[in-house]
Subunit: 312 residues, 2 copies
Amino acid sequence: MNYLGIDVGGTNIKGGVVSEAGEIVREASRPTPAGRDAEEVTDAIAAVIRELAAGETLGGVGLGCPGTVDDERGEVVCAFNLGMIHYDLRAALKARTGFSIRLGNDANVAALAESAVGAARGAQSAVILTLGTGLGCGVVLGGRMLTGYTGAASELGHMVIVEGGAPCSCGRRGCFEAYASATALIRMTEEEMARCPESLMHALARESGRVDGRTAFTARERGDAAAARVVDAYVRHLAVGVANVVNIFFPEVIAFSGGVANQGEALLAPLQEQVRLQEFGGAYVSRHTRLVSCTLGYRAGVIGAALLAKQE
Amino acid sequence: MNYLGIDVGGTNIKGGVVSEAGEIVREASRPTPAGRDAEEVTDAIAAVIRELAAGETLGGVGLGCPGTVDDERGEVVCAFNLGMIHYDLRAALKARTGFSIRLGNDANVAALAESAVGAARGAQSAVILTLGTGLGCGVVLGGRMLTGYTGAASELGHMVIVEGGAPCSCGRRGCFEAYASATALIRMTEEEMARCPESLMHALARESGRVDGRTAFTARERGDAAAARVVDAYVRHLAVGVANVVNIFFPEVIAFSGGVANQGEALLAPLQEQVRLQEFGGAYVSRHTRLVSCTLGYRAGVIGAALLAKQE
């Protein structure tokens, strides 16, 4: 039987009919209404569901969205991008489509997909870290998303690693996100560029029209010393957070997605080396957490939402 | 049916026959052999098992010990206090007693006990933090200990909260343990005492013969300003780590044991207040993690080991 997965983002609402094997059979998409009005967003979600469900026999419908989601209560606790605060999304969609849908945080359902049919397929436990604008995270243990008492768990990006450090969007200081997201990398790149007017990074930024997560990595590859300092500092911070994740969960796999993760081995090789030195009991443990790249890309959200619908 | 639980510590090997309801029916104990020879320690464990098992019909035997334990392989990966490195403890005890025992880390099995029949009874998820010489931790999710891929998980004490901070016994710098254990509190107390020769803490330390985890709390209660600074700094660090634990697991309960936890509400009230301010989405989440004191004391290890034997 097929399942329907919906991935609600700030820009688009993507949907897909997904096979039991986790493959997308059919897709549809609509822009997320710009007004951030919960009812309008729900109307648009319902339209995507109706479009894809027409003529299908579905085993269920699942949905992933940003923010804090309480699947037990069927409620979006808070998702500012969607204008939803304590919003009973399950009831609202049931009224519009007839389906009683399962709800998850977008990073969590993406992690479920990577764990079931992507980078961490077959692993008994996996943590997925998305190094993008923020630092998204999902934890899957024994095939289940870690959602905690309220649905708000797995917020590893909001684990402080530098007490009193750089301000984070969540209100704390020194969060993992404030040191390891693409946004943090760009901040570090700009700071180093300001210190080093002769750095190659200036020319690269001019060429591409902006400083981004690639600027420092590319300049370092071409031998720029200032860029090497940026990358080293970034990887050092990332390693501290990733080693924390290892010591907390000791997952079989940690998989990386998001812009910075496109660096592949240029990022993962030095990271693996530093994490090994910091993992608890590392000298004696014979099985180590594997650090890999995610494989499902943008499809992870839709596939994971569908897989969530499949779970008890 | 009754189960047998063994708690192997650096000083004593404690055992207990435990009822299905988690009550200790009968106890026995022997000193841990001082030489830290794995075979001698195993002989002593076997003697405690034989003493308690005589005449009993047991559903199983479980054991908790310090260090990294791999229950799947039946192996103690490393427990320096017991002289065990990659030691096949299950086979060694099977040969001596006939029982095939379940193995767990001591903090993890104690958490299992607090979760099943102690401070977190009835909670869907719980984290137990022991503020002692080190910072011990166990995580129980849906009635199961979080042990990870290798048995080494749940080492929340070795989560860095201050990158580049105080050195930790594990080799990293700035671990939660280095800021929130009783040892860390004593270090902060001594540092502040050195700065403030007029502090009441000096008189209290002379009275009790040493600086300990109570010195600063007691002096603060009597109005000592230097002691108040120590307690404030300690609680601030502890709150950072505890808020991390909330954001990572969002457990229903976090329960505290160990010397510092004896301060009860003098510790938990300000801690709760600071953690609330730092939890992710705290303003919108309607259910919060409860911070409480553990209730089983030294019995948690024995009871938890027995409960482990009861699990599939």
